[in-house]
């Protein structure tokens, strides 16, 4: 059951590997996992690394441990009702008495039980005071759900407690259950549960009129599934307003090492002591973060117009957040001897003038590189090469999809001069990685 865990979770684009299993095992050894609800929390802590992981995580968890597979766009409730796990749970519930509640309401109960943690149970056990001041309007709902609901001890008996079950035993049981789930029909015991003992409490806690956990994990998990706030931004989608922050985060990767020289105090002292007290200053390069960016934007053709605003917004945001130095140039399709420093393309700047600037600028060229073949003649290619020779860190960002690049002759020529990336958050990140690599090896 656990062997495939990293694989399943990875298929949901989550980070899970052997380390996750080891950490989970450690948590189990320490007795943190006694119920499915516990397992959900522990794994969530170990696997998720950002709020946008919570949605995929909840889905992966339901799929892996409860065989609840949510079809895209489908509400969680429907997927739950479809699943065998739920049906088995319901059958079990109905063993004693026929229940006359619509499935959709049972789903809530089912989810609450799935997410019941050992902490809830502990609260429940020690929570005599909670029992005493039971909420009157909750009591009304008791009777129809389960006739024996008021029999508290009974509920507790049925509430699984795995505290004393050794880990190996637990794993063995899980494996058996996994086998059962493959052959189906064995019925009765599902997942961690065995015989009449189920960690879900089998109509226990919730039916007892006390919502152990209250607004707990069940609610959260439900909120996470199908809510876009809990889903990762598609880093491969073209740059838009709603993924601009992801692109901005990628841009933060541009780091600059300047070459200020400062006194190396520790080495100076060490050497001085070796020399018997004669201190000769020893210098070293001071590294500090500096971000210098030049943008070269193709604002000529209609093909580029949808992207210009978003690109400018992106880099303007970058400037206010963390860049110190941002210059923007414009061109139409390609360059002939220079670029323009204004968007209307009236102020021409000679290439030689641009090329005497600090070679440590990170240069992004943004354009589709698609034009009539005669436009990109030899001189123009030479101009691009000149730029590329001067600025060590230069990348081309193309709003066109990568598949289309090679359909355009001019585009494939330019992509031989510059490393070319898609104008998507993922593409920008790749471009910056490439630039940083260049810096390290130059």
């Amino acid at each position: 059951m656990f062997d495939q865990l990293p694989e399943t979770f990875r298929s949901f684009k989550l980070n899970a590997d052997v380390r996750t299993l080891l950490q989970l095992r450690q948590a189990m050894d320490k007795g943190l996992v006694k119920t499915v609800g516990d397992l959900f929390y522990v794994l969530k802590g170990l696997v998720t690394t950002s709020p946008t992981d919570i949605g995929p995580f909840s889905k992966a968890f339901y799929a892996h441990f409860l065989s609840i597979n949510i079809v895209p766009g489908e509400p969680l409730e429907e997927a739950v009702i479809r699943s065998d796990t739920f049906q088995e749970w319901k059958d079990k519930l109905e063993e004693d008495e026929k229940i006359d509640i619509p499935d959709i309401d049972l789903v809530n109960q089912f989810l609450d039980e799935v997410h019941t943690t050992s902490y809830d149970i502990k609260n429940f056990l020690s929570g005599q005071d909670i029992l005493d001041k039971r909420d009157p309007d909750l009591e009304d709902t008791d009777a129809p759900i389960d006739g024996e609901a008021s029999d508290k001890t009974n509920i507790l008996d049925r509430m699984a407690d795995y505290r004393d079950v050794p880990l190996e035993e637990l794993l063995k049981r899980m494996r058996e259950v996994a086998k059962h789930q493959k052959t189906r029909h064995e019925g009765g015991d599902y997942w961690i549960g065995q015989g009449g003992v189920s960690p879900y409490g089998n109509g226990g806690a919730a039916a007892g009129g006390i919502r152990v956990g209250g607004a707990g994990g069940g609610k959260m998990a439900r909120a996470a599934i199908n809510n876009k706030d809990f889903y990762p931004v598609d880093a491969k989608a073209p740059l838009r307003d709603d993924n601009i922050d992801a692109a901005l985060a990628a841009l933060k990767g541009i780091e600059e090492a300047s070459t200020d020289i400062i006194l190396d105090v520790p080495v100076t002292i060490k050497e001085g002591l070796k020399q018997g007290g004669i201190f000769l200053p020893i210098e070293k390069e001071k590294r500090q973060q500096r971000i210098q960016v030049i943008l070269m934007i193709d604002n000529g053709g209609w093909s580029m117009s949808p992207y210009i605003r978003i690109v400018q917004k992106l880099f303007a945001k970058m400037k206010t957040r963390f860049a110190h130095d941002l210059k923007t140039y414009y061109f139409h399709n390609t360059i002939y001897g220079g670029l323009y420093s204004d968007a209307a393309r009236t102020k021409f700047e000679d290439l030689d003038k641009i090329n005497i600037q600090d070679k440590n600028y990170s240069v992004f060229v943004i354009g589709d590189a698609d034009m009539a073949p005669y436009e990109l003649h030899r001189n123009s290619i030479r101009d691009w090469q000149k730029l590329n020779k001067h600025f060590k860190r230069m990348a081309w960002l193309n709003p066109m999809h990568e598949n289309e690049w090679y359909g355009s002759m001019t585009c494939s020529i330019i992509s031989q001069i510059f490393p070319m990336f898609e104008l998507t958050p993922a593409g920008i990140e790749a471009a910056i990685l490439e630039m940083n690599r260049k810096r390290n090896f130059q």
Binding site: N15, R19, Q23, Q26, A27, K30, G31, L32, Y41, V42, K44, G45, L46, T48, T49, S50, P51, I54, T117, Y119, G213, G214, A215, G216, G217, M220, A249, K252, G253, E255, V265, P266, I269, G272, L273, G277, F279, Q289
Partner: protein
Amino acid sequence: MATDTMWTGSEKYLCDRELAQAFHMARVIGMPLLIEGEPGTGKTELPLQFAQDMGLDLFVYPVGSKSSVEQFVAKFDHVKYLRDSQVEILNAQREEKGMKTKLSTGGRQTENLQDYVLKGPATKAFSTPNSVLLIDEIDKAPREFPNDLLYALSHRKLVMPESGEIIEVKEENMPTIVITSNREQELPTAFKGRCVYHYISFPPKETMHEIVEKHYPTMNDELQDKCINLFYQMRSLGLERAPATRELLSWIKYLNSFKKAEALTKVNRVEGMGVLIKNQKDLQKVQTRLMGKNPNNN
């Protein structure tokens, strides 16, 4: 480490169930807890209140853009070392000349390299059993900082510079480590893999009532309802920087300095916005959307 019980908050701090669970888990398996969430939702408060409530020693390392693992773990004071070594030479010369008085090195000995190690919060926490260590706003750090921390965090062992002294902590004495982040930059995956992650979701209205109750137990109910309603209304406006719990509490503090009736009119007139809204555009939005509705205000 007292890990058998789950800490669920103190008199002044309401630790929601999910956070309590994640925190408990981190303590039990001895991993740092990484908390992310909107600013002003009590990320930093958690370890502070926990340490205070449990009577544990607390060490705080506020991270900045110049943070380095040296400051965090330990630094060797080269300048002092240089000074003392010069003093020794001087003293020897004085002795040669028969002078009695000696210059002091403040009890430090140059042979004893440990005397020159300035211990940072990490070392202090690791040498105090069962302490609490807070690494605040790690997202402000230079990119390599989180990676540099990895070794220390996963080996329960710190090596002091120059002196080579090793500070080691037993698993059961491992300090409780809490790391907070505002997600201003993505942390390395390897780093996150070594932490228990928790994202604080913004508390729903009911919880907010409980939080306010904890801070201002004597507050008038009507006033409290009004404040919280208005606060959630503001959050639903889609402001650039929506006010969070911290802002609400400061606003209530301001309102509490008035008598009830006066405070109520202030709420009705949406006054004291300076603590809630920190952005000119947002302020305009609030004024047109919320104050426009209000007949008391023309």
